[in-house]
Symmetry: C2
Subunit: 225 residues, 2 copies
Amino acid sequence: MDRHFFEELNSLKSKLLEMGTTAEEMLNITVKALKDNNTALFDTIDQDEFKLNRLQVEIDEFCMKLIALHQPTAIDLRFLLGVIKINSELERIGDHTTNIRETIARILKQKQPGTSIDMTVMAELACNMFKESLYAFINMDTDKAKSILFRDDQVDQLRHKAINELVESMTKDPAKADTSVSMLLIANNIEKIADHATNIAEDVIFVAQGKDVRHHFEDPLIKNQ
Amino acid sequence: MDRHFFEELNSLKSKLLEMGTTAEEMLNITVKALKDNNTALFDTIDQDEFKLNRLQVEIDEFCMKLIALHQPTAIDLRFLLGVIKINSELERIGDHTTNIRETIARILKQKQPGTSIDMTVMAELACNMFKESLYAFINMDTDKAKSILFRDDQVDQLRHKAINELVESMTKDPAKADTSVSMLLIANNIEKIADHATNIAEDVIFVAQGKDVRHHFEDPLIKNQ
């Protein structure tokens, strides 16, 4: 690989990492707000979302330029296609985080009565999956990536549990229907963030090993590789 | 462009179209079930989802092979990168359709009491956006693609209206909380399908014109182009 191309790949990786850490900051602020209703940093989320959108367009253009100019094959091509995919996942994580931020702001503004349903365990689980998927990408750590795939089910189960509890709470106390629906929307967005973290982990395995593990990662052959 | 590459691009386009029509069939069955509780074809949705997953992997591999072998630039490269993106949108439309199918099946199985909230207008709107985004892709029709971008807001508004009505219904009649939550989940999935149709429309504009209209499609310069 020529030096110039190598440097450009590194510069692309840094840009994607900047996007990842921006999404991570958004997510940290949101999880904190879920925990203690602290919305002091909510304006940061809006600025960060704007930054994510700008970076998404820049990264896609950068990838396309590198493919057209350097005509990469094998792992370099997989890396560039992987970056395009991860780029899209990161932008969507930003969207879901913004949705959660808006829902929390609405709950607080309308002074909706609280529910006893706690979303922080689920949110922290999804947040950790996302952080580890970024780590797996930076270090091309496929073991770490595989460990993330199997945690998606836990988030799904927590979401199902939360939905059942919310339905029960609404049935018993219809005055809390509004808050319960808000919490349900938050649960859905958290679950989607875990989905996107899982997709990033799948992309890391694809880039590193050339293996497409989507739709059959429960296969024991993949599990043990 | 050499003849062999031209034929391969056509073959790729057919494969993506097969994926699109499969997702369309799934969506048609779901909208019909929402309208008249007809679940006769629900098994088809499961088979179709399996097919979508298989096609997604095949199409990504095909694109990567073509980029590595033919080292395309300009519109050919944009077409291949666009196909990779649309491929992912189609698979996710399949996922959301499967979620709706499962929710309808659960409502009917549990014999949940009905609500007066009608989702069919919203579902048909999203379904038409998707069909037109496929048409825009096949014909590289950027005018059609642009017309889709501006309809996403309508679906968002219908979803907001549905959520407000569902909260009101739950507050008045808590026994219907379960059905109302199910309908809310359906509304969320329909809105996501409209989002993915919008993404496909944006990808069509990117492939045809080399313009990235994400995050600023409301720009009058784009609107009037």
